[in-house]
């Protein structure tokens, strides 16, 4: 589906690269979580995968084609992004915001058709925000805003979904609600999902594959059971971490504060 090949990213004015020789492959239908401390390069990796930032070395291959060579419209039909920050200049309604997900399918000179409005409607129903359609996005709670952005990405009808810390501003319940929803929808529609997350416990509950990112390099990659170990997590975060199996779950906690 998508592969990163010796991906390196360097900001123009900084000597140290943010990403160093990162390589991995994601198979269709997988749900991949990227885990790492602040500043480890998670968001940079996601921006590169989204095609928003151009890697300074290596390349990203999407469906067998070099991502950097895809026109914006072609790229947007293949992958949809749920950004972490969303600050529209004007308070569009939820309906209009979701409708913008149709942009890659609408010629630049045209407005959305009834078919596009229908697709937006379906996306809103899929995440359960149908009744918020007429609400201005400026008057949404953190969870509702996240769901609106997810609905917009679904309206895009791209097979690959990238989410940048989708749980960042959410409470305990909403974190699980949003991630549960993403997993259900991904399974229903056979989507491939890559997301960055902060909580190893959420990762253990949802991911098929985990990438551990430390100082811009891949520390380990694999199934949650193989990667979320005391050793690897301890080395990832630089602190003592315990892992407890409990009724089919893995519970991770800090051994010292």
């Amino acid at each position: 589906m998508i592969q990163a090949e010796t991906l390196t990213f360097r900001h123009p004015e900084m000597a140290a690269p943010v990403l160093r020789d990162v390589s991995f492959a994601v198979a269709p239908g997988q749900l991949v979580a990227v885990l790492g401390p602040n500043g480890s390069g998670k968001t940079t990796l996601l921006k590169c995968l989204a095609g928003l930032w151009v890697p300074s070395g290596g390349r990203i291959v999407l469906d067998g084609r070099d991502l950097a060579r895809l026109a914006p419209r072609e790229r947007a039909k293949r992958l949809a992004v749920v950004p972490q920050e969303h600050a529209p200049a004007f308070p569009y309604t939820v309906q209009d915001a979701v409708l913008m997900g149709r942009a890659p399918h609408i010629p630049a000179y045209a407005s959305p058709s009834s078919q596009d409005r229908w697709a937006a409607r379906v996306a809103m129903e899929a995440v359960g925000i149908g009744e918020l359609a007429a609400r201005p996005t400026s008057r949404l709670s953190g969870g509702e805003r996240q769901l609106t952005l997810i609905a917009r990405a679904l309206a895009q009808e791209a097979p690959l979904l990238l989410l940048d810390e989708p749980t960042a501003h959410l409470d305990f319940r909403n974190q699980h609600r949003v991630l549960g929803l993403v997993r259900r929808i991904a399974a229903d529609k056979a989507l491939t999902v890559i997301m960055t997350l902060h909580d190893p416990n959420l990762v253990a509950g949802i991911a098929d594959q985990v990438l551990l990112l430390k100082d811009g390099a891949l520390l380990a990659a694999g199934a949650p059971g193989a990667v979320l170990t005391e050793d690897l997590l301890g080395s990832l975060y630089g602190m003592a971490i315990g892992v407890l199996p409990h009724a089919g779950h893995r519970l991770m906690f800090a051994r010292q504060w």
């Binding site: 921006k47 989204a50 095609g51 928003l52 026109a71 914006p72 419209r73 072609e74 790229r75 947007a76 039909k77 949809a80 992004v81 950004p83 969303h86 600050a87 529209p88 200049a89 004007f90 308070p91 569009y92 309604t93 209009d96 913008m100 997900g101 942009a103 890659p104 609408i106 630049a108 000179y109 045209a110 407005s111 959305p112 895009q156």
Partner: protein, 326 residues
């Protein structure tokens, strides 16, 4: 929402209708109707209605629509509710270009020079705002102020060097007025304004997407640089074509989009055409006030400036953080 949109759409027609009956030279209402029906051709009153009032009203509508369309577009693509052609220095640049033509280069077409220098001004403002690091709302407004000041200074040099007779016509034209409107002006302004507004109207839904910011628009498949350049070029052509026939008329491009957004919401599919209609209506109204308030036919730019300053104050108080949004 739908009734409000309807009211805004018919407003310019009503304003134009009312404006036809008002003026310094009294023409009885029944006679105006007879003239419009083509029953009093050749009379002096017919000349006043058909060759003085009507082109003036049409020109005011075109200019008001153009300035509002440009303001709406610039506010969206620059993600900044505080900009319009006037704030960004486009008007000042166009004015300098026009003064240069009036004073020294009579062979150059006025609208062309206005577009070239106005375009230069908007490029300079955007480059300056970008150079300060973040392309923030405040830095853009500041850059606009700086560019405006620069072109005002250049304009002052022209005024200083030009001979007194031409100076008078530059000064009067700068104040912003439709007093000299005729059908040939309507034609030349209409061409530039039409060409400038065409891409804005055609691509207006993309304004919604662009206003989300570069990264989001790009991830939604928009070719951000190309699309934004097209919008800024269209808005600049429309605004400078307006400046070339009417001088500097400030605030319309800022006030009207805000008022229409409050009435009909931010979706540009509706906002852009409604802003154009609203701008046309407001401009016809302001010009009718300007020419009926005193016998002297005040420049309409004075009327809009006097109304605009308190409006900006109101925006600052109401919007606060939301409008300045750093």
């Amino acid at each position: 929402m739908r009734t409000r949109a309807g009211i805004i759409l018919v407003a310019p027609v009503l304003a134009a209708g009312a404006a036809l009956f008002l003026g310094a030279y009294g023409v009885a209402p029944m006679q105006v109707i007879r003239i419009l029906a083509g029953r009093s051709a050749g009379t002096p009153e017919a000349g006043i209605i058909l060759d003085i009032r009507l082109p003036r009203i049409v020109l005011a509508a075109l200019v008001g629509g153009a300035l509002s369309a440009a303001g709406t577009t610039l506010q969206a693509v620059l993600r900044n509710p505080l900009v319009d052609p006037f704030m960004l220095g486009i008007s000042a640049g166009a004015a300098f270009g026009c003064a240069l033509v009036i004073g020294f280069l009579p062979a150059v077409p006025l609208p062309l020079m206005a577009f070239l220098v106005g375009g230069l001004a908007v490029l300079a403002a955007c480059a300056m705002a970008k150079a300060s690091g973040q392309f923030s709302r405040l830095s853009l407004v500041l850059a606009g102020v700086i560019v405006s000041a620069l072109f005002s200074a250049l304009l002052a040099i022209v005024k200083f060097l030009v001979d007194p007779q031409k100076l008078q016509s530059i000064v009067y034209w700068l104040m912003g007025s439709f007093a000299l409107a005729d059908w040939s002006q309507v034609g030349s302004a209409g061409l530039g304004i039409g060409l400038g507004c065409l891409p804005l109207v055609l691509f207006r839904w993309q304004l919604n997407v662009l206003s989300l910011g570069d990264d989001e628009a790009r991830s939604l498949g928009v070719h951000v640089g190309r699309q934004r350049a097209l919008f800024i070029a269209g808005a600049t052509l429309a605004a400078t074509s307006a400046v070339a026939v009417s001088g500097i008329i400030g605030w319309i491009g800022l006030m009207v989009p805000h008022l229409v957004r409050m009435a009909a919401g931010p979706d540009h599919r509706r906002l852009l055409p409604l802003s154009m209609a609203g701008g046309a209506a407001v401009m016809i109204g302001a010009d009718t006030v300007a020419r009926s308030l005193t016998m002297a036919d005040l420049p309409v730019g004075i009327i809009t400036a006097v109304a605009g300053a308190p409006f900006f104050l109101y925006l600052m108080r109401r919007g606060g953080k939301e409008s300045w949004g750093e």
